[in-house]
Amino acid sequence: MGLRKMGPNKRNLAVGAVMALMTLGLGVAAQAQEMIRRIDNPPPGHPLPEIISGYEFRAPETQALQDDDFDNPGFLWVEQGEELWDEAEGKAGKSCADCHGDPAESMKTAGAEYPKWNEKLGKPINLEARINLCRTENMQAKPWKLESEQMLSMTSFVRTQARGVPVKVQIDGPMKPFFEKGKKLYYTRMGQLDMACANCHEDNYGKRIRSDMLSQGQINGFPTYRLKWQKVGSIHRRFKGCMKQVRAEPFKPGSDEFTALELYVAYRGTGLSVEAPAVRQ
């Protein structure tokens, strides 16, 4: 865990960390993948005339920080996630690797497909919920707290395996009512400022609110290293922040409401490459 405390600059000097990255097989090879960050012709019925990753709305310095795996501070969490992948925990004495093997293979697309239907629970679950189900049911270990270092590390690691893979979530069949619920939330004005997600991220993206340029609120880069947070954070943490900004009582991270909203917002970014760990302001 000492790695986390090191600043990105110190980390660059740490030969060990560089070696670890190389053995991970991330870095250069993954970065060479073509990233889809703009879709000019969304499928019929899509609410946006163009689908644009949050990357495109950020300053060149912020983009550069994301582009270089050695500078990207989000990789501190990715590296920790890689360590946790092999750690046996819980009464079953299992690690992630015991069931899932090589993450580069087994987790190649998962990061692009969540929230996903869970038959047993009868509702969609996001990646965090999936990880905690693995822990409680298969590993017989305690679930991780949602914004804990472990959870952020594991979600960062898993999502990074899908880097470059186009986002595609299921929205039909049993997912339909949850998709509709998320859509309704997206267009519902909330809080004392009485604003819906759509007021900023559909009606006004590309315009400045004070010094910040509004994006489409796409989530293909999560978990995202946010300069404002000085750490990686989850999609639900970001949702919560937005709700507080409009002076609304936020839903709870991990709630069905936020999961439905996550599903709907993921759909709005259909076709964008997963680009975790993104860097945003």
């Binding site: 519902t188 004005r189 909330m190 809080g191 004392q192 400022l193 009485d194 604003m195 007021n199 900023c200 009606d203 006004n204 315009k207 400045r208 609110i209 004070r210 010094s211 509004l214 709700m243 507080k244 002076r247 609304a248 009582e249």
Partner: protein, 159 residues
Amino acid sequence: MGVDWKHKTIRACIGLGLGLGMSAMLATGAAAEGLVKYEVVDDGVPQSLTGKPGDAERGRKVIINRKQGNCLACHAISVLASEPFHGEIGPSLDGVAERYSEAQLRLILINAKAVFPDTIMPAFYRNDGFTRVMKKFRGKTILTAQQVEDVLAFLKALK
């Protein structure tokens, strides 16, 4: 400019039916307790909310303050160029007093959705009809009646 004004007038007329309904509810409804009563006439509120003239200098501070009016988050105002970061979401407020009457501006400040139903602009003098308001803001307006008048006094000089 002429075309712009015409367009705005049409939108104001369209919004008026809804506006009158909402404002009537605001002014008389039990949930709107604590609010100064006001009357919507045509597409504006002609009477001051406080009966007192607003103070443009205090209005300037409310406009700049990010926890009060925070008008610059969305609107540019050239005479406040010394303040950093004017937003681009709403129209520039330069010359706004030439485009709208005092009564119209007052209603837009009180509840912009009475005039422009789809606007992102918050209602600055309304305290009900919201969804999931954070506890500490529940039942409260963003600005006080006097602050609305103060902001208005500042805007009236933008000609």
